[in-house]
């Protein structure tokens, strides 16, 4: 458990470090890009569904897989559309 806490604390610092350097012009793509990244919950959803034993777990898991997929693909596609315009 302490390992996970270590990773969390280090990630906080990396996150603040990287994000504070993001260009102000790109704050909207930052938010939608970050949005796509939290779609990584799809990994959790797949793991949980893959080991589901009861119907309840299966239904909850599959719903999570569906929603997380919408989050991931939608997030990356919207971000790409925006960044394409900034290439000039």
């Amino acid at each position: 458990m302490i390992d996970l806490l270590t990773i969390f604390v280090l990630a906080v610092f990396v996150g603040f470090e990287v994000v504070s350097k993001v260009s102000t012009i790109l704050h909207t793509p930052l938010m939608s890009g970050a949005n796509a990244i939290h779609g990584v919950i799809l990994v959790g959803a797949i793991l949980i569904t893959g080991s589901a034993e009861s119907t309840l777990e299966l239904v909850l898991g599959l719903l999570a897989v569906f929603l997380a997929t919408v989050n991931v693909v939608g997030g990356f596609v919207v971000t790409d559309r925006m960044l394409e315009m900034f290439r000039k």
Binding site: H27, P29, A34, V43, G44, T49, G50, V78, D80, K88
Partner: protein
């Protein structure tokens, strides 16, 4: 071992994706790297973890793709904030569902595990319902004004207190029913929390909910003992937190004031001085003013996007540049409906990003600006925010356009801005008002400047 390695690769890709955003030139490659990392992570999880129900999972993923991609492809750039809010909401819901499902699968949960579970369920639910309300507001499916329920504050406090109590209770006596109840209270809390937030403050709500979903995902990483979820969720949490702070600074208000103090002073401002004179000009007057200026700053607001006038303003600016006028755009951090939204809207109209300037770039040299053109903006140029402690927007950093040599204020009518505050700039002798639809006025201006 290989699985952990693949997750590490994915985490690194996510960090690089965010790092790419430090320069507009390479940002798109960064996003590709991020998407690649996601693919690695998802395929790894599927190959390693989908022991059962593999086919079902593929079906659910396919459905998500079928829904997500067309939505993301077709959304207009003006509607990006509500789309982001919606994607944010479904992410939060997914995190809460994962924690719920995991709870029913585990036999003998420990304290930290339970703590992470209740946090994921609570934050995920708040994020989901809050994002949905934000979406409804931005899509104008409901009023954009702050909604003040009778006893709304007490209700919110009650929901907050009972959610904490339910968290404690669930940890003490792990029980599926309590967890469901917690999810329900979380949903109510999200609604109560976003309802009183007014239209102009929605960017803050979006940033904050973004941070929430990040935290929910990080907490779910604890539940599943999955390092990738912890790292990715934390990165998002950090980005949401930073953006929330920046937005609050750009409004000159504290976060608590924005979330809980829906503008109360609106009624106080309208006192009986309505007969004051303003100077309105014709298109030709303004064309001459602009055509013979050396240095022009354009301050666009969301009204520009509402009038679909981004292309018209870019053409006018190009024409002025052909005449040797130096033109830049002053972009306020809260211009638009989410952080940095105006930059995206102008980029869509092919405005080069080098011309997009911030407050700190524009204000120091504002006295040498010949004409400041305000299009579809109001509160961000209101000198009251700087000079009048009694103004409800006092303390919000503004473009000091009243210190430029002259001001052209393009307005549809004398109606006050989003915050409902009267703008002293309108009565300034240096200000010329050009009434009419922004797109219409800009097109006429372009023609008039060409005639010079």
């Amino acid at each position: 071992m290989t699985v952990q390695l693949m997750y590490l690769v994915a985490a690194l890709c996510f960090i690089l994706a965010l790092k790419g955003l430090s320069s507009p030139k390479y940002a798109r490659y960064g996003n590709f790297i991020g998407a690649f990392g996601m693919l690695v992570a998802v395929v790894t999880a599927y190959l390693h973890g989908a022991v059962h129900n593999g086919l079902w999972i593929l079906v659910a993923v396919a459905l998500g793709v079928v829904v997500g991609i067309p939505a993301a492809r077709s959304v207009k750039m003006t509607a990006i904030p509500q789309m982001v809010a919606l994607f944010n909401g479904v992410g939060g819901a997914a995190a809460a569902l994962v924690a719920l499902a995991e709870f029913f699968a585990v036999r003998d949960p420990g304290f930290l595990y339970l703590l992470a579970t209740v946090l994921t369920v609570l934050i995920g639910s708040v994020s989901f319902s809050g994002s949905v309300v934000t979406f409804l507001k931005l899509q104008e499916l409901m009023t954009t004004r702050p909604v003040l329920l009778p006893a709304g504050q007490q209700l919110a406090i009650a929901a907050g207190v009972s959610s904490v109590a339910l968290c404690a209770l669930t940890i003490a006596t792990p029980n599926g029913f309590l967890l469901w109840l917690l999810a329900a209270v979380g949903l109510a809390l999200g609604v109560l929390f976003v309802l009183p937030v007014g239209g102009a403050d929605v960017p803050i709500a979006i940033s904050l909910l973004n941070a929430f979903t990040g935290l929910a995902v990080a907490a779910s990483g604890y539940v599943l003992a999955n390092t990738l979820l912890i790292v990715a969720g934390t990165l998002v949490g950090a980005s949401g937190t930073i953006l929330t702070r920046l937005m609050a600074q750009a409004m000159g208000r504290s976060l608590a004031n924005i979330l809980f103090g829906a503008f109360k002073a609106t009624t106080v401002v309208a006192h009986g001085e309505e007969q004051r004179t303003v100077k309105s000009g014709t298109v030709e007057d303004v064309a001459i003013l602009l055509g013979y200026a050396n240095n022009v700053v354009v301050v666009p607001g969301y009204g520009l996007a509402v009038a679909q006038a981004q292309h018209a303003v870019r053409e006018l600016v190009a024409q002025l540049e052909r005449r040797g006028v130096t033109v830049s755009y002053g972009i306020h951090p809260v211009a638009g409906r989410m952080p940095g939204h105006m930059n995206v809207l102008l980029a869509e109209a092919d405005v080069p990003y080098e011309q997009l300037k911030e407050l700190d770039d524009v204000n120091p040299g504002i006295t040498s600006v010949d004409v400041a053109v305000v299009v579809g903006a109001n509160d961000v140029v209101n000198p009251g925010a700087r000079d009048e402690p009694s103004s409800p927007i006092y303390g919000m950093p503004i473009f000091d356009v009243d210190r430029a040599k002259s001001v052209v204020f393009m307005k549809r009518s004398m109606r006050p801005g989003f915050a409902g505050v009267d703008n002293e700039l309108l009565y300034n002798p240096k200000t010329t008002l050009l009434f009419g639809d922004a797109k219409d006025s800009l097109t006429k201006l372009l023609a008039a400047v060409k005639q010079l």
